[in-house]
């Protein structure tokens, strides 16, 4: 049995988000949504995390950080792109310093749509991506 499904610990990184998706990710921790009931914990440390949540598009400054965080996480690990910008580059896709969505930097397992992504969608994304872990 894979116990990661019972206790996915989450690391959140803002690649260059407008904070809209970040607020919704933090809203998941509040009593209304309470992700801890699903065993999820918001960690501040890639070495402890199983799920990397990235909000915002990847730009020339944040790309190295995104790659480094991904490398520091130990297997099994999954990556979720939260929101339109993280999925495709979104509204700032054509900006001079923007590389694009998170998939331009690291492999992404799940895309959560929305601008901003709703907390229900984010929680759903995490629950569904865990089924992909073999």
């Amino acid at each position: 049995m894979k116990f990661i499904k019972k206790s996915p610990w989450i690391l959140h990184y803002n690649a260059s988000s407008c904070n809209g998706c970040d607020i919704e990710i933090l809203a998941c921790l509040t009593p209304l949504y309470d992700v801890e009931r699903l065993g999820m914990i918001h960690t501040g440390n890639p070495k402890h995390a199983d799920v990397l949540l990235i909000s915002g598009c990847v730009n020339t400054q944040s790309v190295s950080v995104v790659k480094q965080l991904y490398e520091q996480m130990s297997e099994p690990k999954v990556v979720i792109a939260v929101g339109a910008c993280a999925s495709t580059g979104g509204i700032s896709k054509d900006c001079y310093n923007v590389i694009g969505g998170v998939s331009e930097a690291i492999p992404v397992d799940m895309y959560v749509p929305g601008c901003a992504a709703r907390p229900e969608a984010i929680i759903d994304g995490v629950v569904k991506v865990l089924d992909k872990i073999k």
Binding site: S7, R37, G44, D50, S74, E75, P76
Partner: protein, 290 residues
């Protein structure tokens, strides 16, 4: 030979039952904390899921010595709890307990992360906070009971706390630290504490972190058993009072944790030392006079 077998069985029972009890206590603790914050909270078995998941993760260690120190810390914690439940000398248990805390700090120092270093330093400051109180408590216990033996508490006419009220209050004050609830800038409870990433455990992952968790379960049971030592006496009623009081005290600890979520380690050091000096020495002076 029979004595040897029964002792071996007792040790085995303690080593198996204590972590299960510790994990359950931790699960119930998280559930009650969640309820206090208006949340639903994780399942009671969540700590076990966490540890099993950590064991299934890859674990790369920056320095292999980290794992060595953590295993030593766990072994001394086990040793301490086994001694305690077998009714050995209180002083020996406290020394084993302190050694396990020191090994845990060394595990923090063994990796080169600055966060880990800060965590290990603060861990040492914490030891300075609570160990004097626990050692004074052992001396108080000796003065009140006439022996360092833990099993002696079961033959008393009245619980040791009746002669050590101030030291017991001091113990209640410092166990918040040992249960890893406060101070927030070092504690490793499951709240969103991120000031120094995760302190001592910054560079630990997978099975190393699982060892830390299991070691903490042993510590939790030790702490509760230490409270129980001062509440038990030779009557069957002593068990009822002891267990009931331990439950109430643990609930109050959760309440205090949720009410004072932002105690820093410096204020914790100051406050514990004042409490240790005043309550501890007042109680010892009182015992030696009467």
């Amino acid at each position: 030979m029979n004595d040897f077998m029964s002792a071996a069985l007792q040790i085995l029972a303690v080593i198996i039952i204590v972590p299960i009890a510790g994990g359950l206590i931790s699960g119930i603790d998280r559930k009650i904390s969640a309820k206090m914050q208006g949340r639903k909270g994780p399942p009671i078995l969540q700590p076990f899921y966490d540890v099993l998941k950590l064991l299934q993760k890859d674990s790369k260690t920056v320095n292999p010595t980290t794992r060595y120190f953590l295993v030593l810390s766990l072994i001394f914690n086990m040793f301490n709890v086994v001694l305690f439940f077998m009714g050995a000398e209180l002083l020996l248990c406290i020394f084993a307990f302190t050694i396990s805390c020191v090994f845990f700090s060394l595990a923090g120092y063994s990796s080169r992360s600055p966060y880990s270093f800060i965590g290990a330093e603060r861990e040492l400051v914490q030891i300075i906070c609570y160990v004097p109180m626990i050692i004074l408590l052992a001396f108080g216990y000796y003065q009140a009971v006439g022996s360092f033996s833990i099993s002696y508490a079961f033959q008393l006419d009245a619980p040791a706390v009746t002669r050590l009220p101030l030291l017991f209050i001091g113990l209640l004050y410092v166990i918040t630290i040992k249960l890893r609830k406060s101070p927030f800038d070092i504690s490793m409870s499951h709240h969103a504490h991120q000031e120094i990433v995760r302190g001592v455990t910054t560079e630990m992952e997978g099975s190393c972190l699982a060892i830390v968790e299991v070691s903490h379960w042993f510590e939790t049971v030790f702490t509760i058993r230490l409270l129980f030592l001062f509440l038990i006496y030779g009557q069957p009623l002593g068990w009822v009072i002891g267990i009931g009081a331990c439950l109430i005290i643990y609930f109050l600890e959760i309440l205090v944790d949720n009410a004072t979520a932002r105690i820093k380690y410096r204020s914790a050091l100051r406050a514990t030392w004042i409490v240790v000096l005043v309550l501890g020495f007042a109680n010892l002076a009182f015992l030696s006079l009467f």
